[in-house]
Amino acid sequence: MADKRTTVADMVAELRSGMTIGIGGWGSRRKPMAVIRAICRSDLSDLTVVSYGGPDVGLLCATGKVSRVVCGFVTLDSIALDPHWRAARQGGSVALTELDEGMFFAGLQAASWRVPFLPTRAGLGSDVLVVNPELRTVRSPYTDGPFADPADADAEFVAAPALRLDAAFVHANRCDTAGNAQFLGPDRFFDELFLGAAARRFVTAEKVVEPGALTAEGPLSAVTIHRLLTDAVAETPLGAHFTSCPPDYGRDEAFQREYAGSADPEAWEAFRARYLEVDEAGYRAAVEAR
């Protein structure tokens, strides 16, 4: 069995400017932040970021890594709006593909299943179809016969497009060296679909264990990412900080307030110097030193 252990630096070294990158988690919850920080430090640019958006989106926009965001929202949960994302949008520096969050789910599922779209009602009648004129609708081909539903005979559905990714990053509580990953918290979100939708699939975890050892800390049913979905893994303690990663740690609300308070240029330069222009060990030391 291959040992898929690597480092965050080597994962990020595989990326190229212009790529489409999927990021797991949801809002300010279990985001692969060690990877985000590494991308912020890199010389990558022009990325398209596909995310149930949280501070991953704000940080990548604030450091100029992003040309387009594909999302249904960006929020910090306990702070409703991310000021860095707002500044990017209001300043016109980043393009947006705004999707309904369920459409987004269907798009990841479609990419994961290698079909071009999945039909859904979500989006019909809304401005999602107006601001994204490239979106298309479809009709059911089942107009007669046993599979026809007469009530939908004249209905149009949104063809939620497959959200194909060049690379995806997710952060798990535990994974093993072979690439199986386990979520010990209450929600696995859409992480396996991000991996399924991507050409290169990267998992970071609080702790990496030997194959077969994941059941020591939690049930096998919590191992929802199997190694068919994973190309490389890296151990990143506090790898989701400052977002939540239960049960290992909750959101660092004080740090998040510091992040949210750093939107003006002077505060941002201080935040960036202190927390982003350092490696992970330096980051953890800076977090510790507050």
Partner: protein, 253 residues
């Protein structure tokens, strides 16, 4: 017991929206809708299903602000499962609205021109999908010309005219039930599906609400008054569900 506060009237008005829903997932956004949902569960609709705000369904109707460690859970409800419920229709959501308009379109996305907004908000979230898949209501704690507008800047939740224009795929399960604000309860039960006053909260006048609304509201004859909470409801709100009176932070007395 002393007279009900405006916040308490609002909580009961929200609860009333779920009275006849039966066994359905109720997703309330905001303190007062959350109180209303718990009140409905403790009184006239014990079958409604509520989440713990994270990734599970919870048993009972614990007070607002209960430590998550104290909650008793009955089933898992991660986000992936939420979409299964949304698209199956077994849900009645009460979302907030930064803007709501005359035909029931709601905006959570951005103020101004979408391409380069004056104010970026949270995003459309699940509003487009919610509004064409299951009953959807809205909660606006600050009724004003800025929130009740002729036309929203970005259609997130879909109103009646937009759904009709999108065709039967959109209208089949579309059901924007009601809007509750700090001034009254509003719905779209008019022939042309525009917003009308269903009831005004005690002490609110038609003139006051018309002045605070950025479009002509339909007024059908004599306007009803939102019912006052019963003694039992006031007791539950004050002593059981919200002894810290967090409801007053959302709607001032």
């Amino acid at each position: 017991m002393s007279d009900a506060t405006r916040a308490e009237v609002c909580a009961v008005a929200c609860a009333e929206l779920w009275r006849h829903d039966g066994e359905i997932l109720v997703s309330p956004f905001g303190t007062i809708p959350a109180l209303g949902a718990r009140l409905a569960r403790l009184t006239f609709n014990p079958d409604i299903v509520l989440t713990d705000g994270e990734a599970a369904l919870m048993v009972g109707a614990p007070p607002i602000g209960t430590d998550p460690a104290e909650l008793v859970r009955e089933a898992a409800m991660p986000y992936r499962t939420v979409f299964d419920v949304v698209w199956s229709g077994r849900r009645h959501v009460m979302m907030m609205a930064s803007q709501i308009d005359r035909t029931g379109n709601q905006n959570l996305s951005a103020i101004g021109d979408w391409a380069r907004p004056k104010a970026q908000l949270v995003g459309v979230r699940g509003a487009p999908g919610n509004s064409v898949n299951h009953p959807t209501s809205y909660w606006v704690p600050n009724h004003s010309n800025r929130s009740f507008v002729e036309q929203v800047d970005v259609v997130s939740g879909v109103g009646y005219h937009r759904a009709a224009a999108a065709g039967p795929g959109a209208t089949r399960y579309h059901d924007v039930r009601a809007v509750v604000s700090n001034l009254g309860v509003f719905d779209f039960e008019t022939p042309d599906r525009v917003m009308r006053i269903r009831s005004l909260h005690p002490g609110v006048t038609v003139d006051e609400v018309v002045a605070a609304t950025g479009f002509p509201l339909k007024v059908d004859g004599e306007v009803a008054t939102t019912r006052r909470p019963t003694e039992e409801e006031l007791g539950l709100l004050r002593r059981v569900l919200d002894p810290g009176a967090t409801r007053d932070n959302e709607v001032k007395s």
